[in-house]
Amino acid sequence: MLRLLWLIPAIPMASAVVLALFGAGLRRRVVSIIGVGSVFASAVIASAVAADFVSSPPEGNAYRQVLWNWIGVGSLRLDAGLYLDALSLLMTLVVTCVGALIHLYSTEYMAHGEGFSRFFAYMNLFVASMLILVLGDNLVFLFLGWEGVGLCSFLLIGFWFTDPANVKAALKAFIVTRVGDTAFMIGLFLLFQRLGSLDIQQVLQNAQAQWPTGSAYAIAAAALLLGGAVGKSAQLPLHTWLPDAMAGPTPTSALIHAATMVTAGVYLIARTHALFVLAPPVMTAVAVIGALGLLMAGFSALTQREIKKVLAWSTVSQIGYMFLALGVGAWIGAMFHFFTHAFFKALLFLAAGHVVETLHENDIFRMGGLRKDLPITYWSFVIGGSALAGLPYITAGSYSKDQIIWRAWASPYGHPLLWAAAVAAVLLTSLYTYRLIFLVFFGSEAKTPEHLPGMAMLLPVIVLCVPSIAAGWLNRPPALGAHRLFDNFLESALPPAPAGAHPVLSEGLSELAAASAFAIGLALAWWLYIRRRAHVEAFASSGPAAALHRLWFSGWGFDSLYDALFVRPVVWIATVNKSDVVDQVYAAVSLGSRALNRALAVTQTGRVRWYAAGIAGGAAVLLGIAIFL
């Protein structure tokens, strides 16, 4: 079965090519079958491969499939090779399964309007790129997928390109992530230059052999890779593209946020964890970026008016948890949160899609009372939201989050401040999540849905409800019998979280703190948005609170900061230098060439005698040079 591995990215890739070339001429039904079927086929094969991998693990718990020699120049030899271990298997499963559900959902969501086949071509390419990213066995192949994902995000965010705002958002996503990509590329150059290889396993081995912990090269390389990860995963300071990325169709957001793209950075760090361990300052940076990100994004989510923006900021915040986990060395914890997050975030986006699609409304303050109109949506929102907020012991989110919070304290890389940030963020998450739910589904009915979502939009949501609750049970904390299926599975690929001395707090107490934070958040949300809604609005529009509200609403002003720091100076230089000075050089070359051309054209008289004289003269000159030299 393992030999079928190459099919997993190949099928969606082939389907993308077919749809891109011939999609316009196909009927929508056929496009749906190709577009959705390919990802489902991929998911089935991935499941079969997973079953095979688990039942009879390959030697060394990793399987390598070399497809062909991709690049061979000098000492650089790169294969188009796939590398399957527990980590990439997990990513593959999530990408294909969640991706398949999102594709199915899209058939209905995108049913009206232009560009049906174009949409599925992009989506398939997106999935294929992500699969190449997670399965690639060398950093350049990984980078190919990485860039493919970036390209597809650009195409999909700007899918409705007739609206300039969407194109702007797409450009922003592309350019901002590009900043990170540049760092990533420089990191690749550095690794290749110092370690002489780009094969991931080889690089990690060489790094461990050549670089002592804390060596400058290790720090530089890890920091550069972190730059790439921060861009792709929308973490501080390159997170600004993600909230704007909501310009794309909702299934796109689900795909970007849940299964693909933003988790790429998390995957990259987990994949190259051995390198990060060699660079303790970078580890700290990862943890701090994560902690700051999750707090900052939490506050921003609190003030958003658009349903999808709330979810977008919540993604930044949740990826912050994953970064925090990576930063404290809880690699498996990060992957566990990625795993649960993929389900409940996809669920939330798809459910939000129901609301947006049936109401044609984005603003949560113009919604309300949808509990009765959209019962399935409501319940899935409650399940997904509770998982996001971390409803203790019941939802998947709480299991994965509690582990991270505990590690933020207990790991030798941890720090009480990191722990405090993580717990505070639970409160924030709970607050903004239930604010969203209460505003949209409770209260007085502001707008009634024009129609109800159909089967293709309901089914994926219902299916996703199951893992949003049950996925957490794979890893039960000590209080529930310490049954760690997920940890055991991943331990073949990632080292267990390091244990440190941790006085004062025990894992149970940490969980209790998180649970209390959740409860406080929930209560606060209930009190503010059900009981005293008028108060909160009055408060938010008064004096300093209004200023703070504006700050949070704008995402802490990063956009205007970057605008002032980077965008405007560049635009200024561009306008000043509209008629490029450098162009004058080329203009001179062109003028010179023309003058030379005119001068030489004079020799082309068309007269034989002149030509013959030319031969004789040329011969004389050559002879002269030869003799007198």
């Binding site: 060439s593 023309r594 030379l596 051309n597 030489l600 054209a601 020799t603 082309q604 068309g606 034989v608 002149w610 030509y611 013959a612 030319g614 031969i615 004789a616 003269g617 040329g618 011969a619 000159v621 050559l622 002879l623 040079i625 030869a626 003799i627 030299l629």
Partner: protein, 481 residues
């Protein structure tokens, strides 16, 4: 040295083309039939092509003092035969619509091919001169093959006069060398006072054929006047053969290591690169443009020869293939589109070609891209190898010249491409319908341009091209000792 059976087998391609010429002549005498004459000529070339690679023809063999058959000559023989076959295919439809008497054309073409085939294996000044004249004399007639038109006649006459003059230089140079060494073999070492002037005079004669600065003035007029397929013949077969013999001559005589010759070669190479590209800059006639571009491309080839060494020999061999395939494609498209008395040679006549004849447009685009040296075409790989050879032996001046002039050249090649894709004029140009022999030849050239551009591993390293030349050099030093 007597001619034995093995020697005859080695020069079988020459003999077969010779026999083919006789057969065509006999066929014409019996019954005029354009198709039969073309088919017979084509068949002769194919058979010759096969015979060049018979198992018996391996290794190096001197056939009489005049000819040496080795990997080097076999490689060029193959290329030249394929090019001749391509020219025949392109000519067929062209002649069908233009000339009244069409059959003799093939006689001339085959005779010229014999001359071309003599040159790569020539290792003796007599063979050199015979080959060059055998190649040139049919060309006078071929150029003027459409005598009722003004330009071809003019081109033929110009070429006749000038080629005659240049041959005089060549002969004089050979005579001087003979006076110096008493031998007509390339390998005869001459170290006396007359050697350098003699070699310069020989270079004048060869430089005229190659249209190298300062002997390039005739090129544009002749290319423009030539019927398009004949232009293709001059640009491909004639150029390729003379390059082959020039390189062998310079290597085997050891002249390549003479300071004066190296200096002159560099001046001529640089001059050709610049003059060719600059002259083509504002040209609107595609045939003249190709003529000027040929000057610059021959400059690049001369650069490779000047550099010397195994890498450069292989680079030159590859470049000859690259350039001839691309230029055959260009002339082929022009001939294929020629209707009756009119050849679409002005840029204005090619405007919107892509929209009326997409395939022809794409092919002409490819050929221009390849001539300009755009990656993924064979022209790029050719330039790349030359540059690699140049960098390898630190020939920086020439390498920089190649890069700079390639940049200048991109301008006029791309102008043709722009014309091809601009919106077609009203009413649209009337082009000839393309027949299958021509389209077969064009597709073949396109395949070469693309295939060798994407996957240039031709196995040239398996042919011992430079080894052939070096061994001859060694042989010559051995005989003088």
């Amino acid at each position: 040295m007597t001619l034995d059976a093995a020697g005859l087998l080695a020069i079988l391609p020459l003999l077969i083309i010779g026999a083919g010429t006789m057969a065509v002549m006999a066929a014409i005498a019996m019954k005029r039939n354009h198709k039969a004459a073309a088919a017979l000529s084509f068949a002769a070339i194919i058979v010759a092509l096969i015979s060049a690679w018979m198992p018996s023809s391996v290794g190096t063999r001197a056939v009489t003092p005049l000819l040496t058959v080795d990997d080097y000559s076999r490689f060029f023989t193959t290329v030249l035969l394929v090019l001749s076959a391509g020219v025949i295919l392109v000519s067929f439809a062209y002649l069908d619509t233009t000339a009244a008497r069409r059959e003799e054309y093939y006689l001339l073409l085959l005779t010229g091919t014999i001359g071309a085939l003599v040159l790569p294996s020539a290792s003796h000044y007599v063979a050199l001169f015979l080959g060059i004249e055998l190649l040139s004399i049919p060309l006078y007639a071929l150029l003027a093959y459409l005598p009722h038109r003004e330009r071809p006649l003019e081109a033929g006459l110009k070429y006749l006069v000038l080629a005659g003059a240049s041959s005089a230089f060549l002969l004089f140079g050979i005579a001087l060398l003979y006076a110096e060494t008493g031998s007509m073999a390339f390998g005869a070492v001459a170290a006396g006072q007359l050697a350098t002037p003699a070699m310069v005079l020989i270079l004048v004669g060869l430089g005229f054929k190659l249209a190298i600065v300062p002997f390039h003035l005739w090129t544009a007029d002749v290319y423009q006047g030539a019927p398009a397929p004949v232009g293709a013949f001059i640009a491909t077969v004639s150029k390729g053969a003379v390059i082959a013999v020039t390189m062998r001559l310079l290597f085997e005589s050891g002249a390549l290591s003479w300071t004066a010759v190296r200096m002159l070669l560099m001046i001529m190479a640089l001059g050709s690169m610049f003059a060719g590209n600059v002259l083509a800059l504002m040209q609107t006639n595609v045939k003249r443009l190709l003529a000027y571009s040929s000057i610059s491309h021959l400059g690049y080839v001369l650069m490779g020869i000047q550099i010397g060494g195994a890498l450069a020999v292989r680079a030159v061999a590859f470049y000859v293939m690259a350039y001839t395939a691309s230029v055959l494609l260009a002339f082929g498209v022009v001939s294929a589109l020629s209707a009756g008395q009119k050849e679409p040679e002005e840029l204005s006549e090619l405007e919107g070609l892509f929209w009326t004849r997409p395939w022809m447009g794409v092919m002409l685009t490819l050929s221009m891209m390849s001539l300009a040296g755009v990656p993924l075409t064979v022209g790029f790989m050719g330039k790349y190898y030359l540059l690699a050879a140049g960098a390898d032996s630190s020939a920086w001046l020439l390498s920089i010249g190649l890069v700079v002039t390639s940049a200048i050249g991109a301008y006029y090649y791309l102008r043709v491409v722009v014309a091809i894709y601009s919106s077609p004029p009203e009413p649209t140009q009337a082009y000839q319908r393309v027949t299958w022999p021509a389209s077969f030849a064009l597709m073949l050239a396109t395949a070469v341009v693309l295939w060798l551009g994407v996957y240039p591993r031709l196995g040239l390293h398996r042919l011992d091209l430079a080894g052939s030349l070096r061994s001859a050099e060694q042989r010559s030093t051995a005989t003088t000792r």
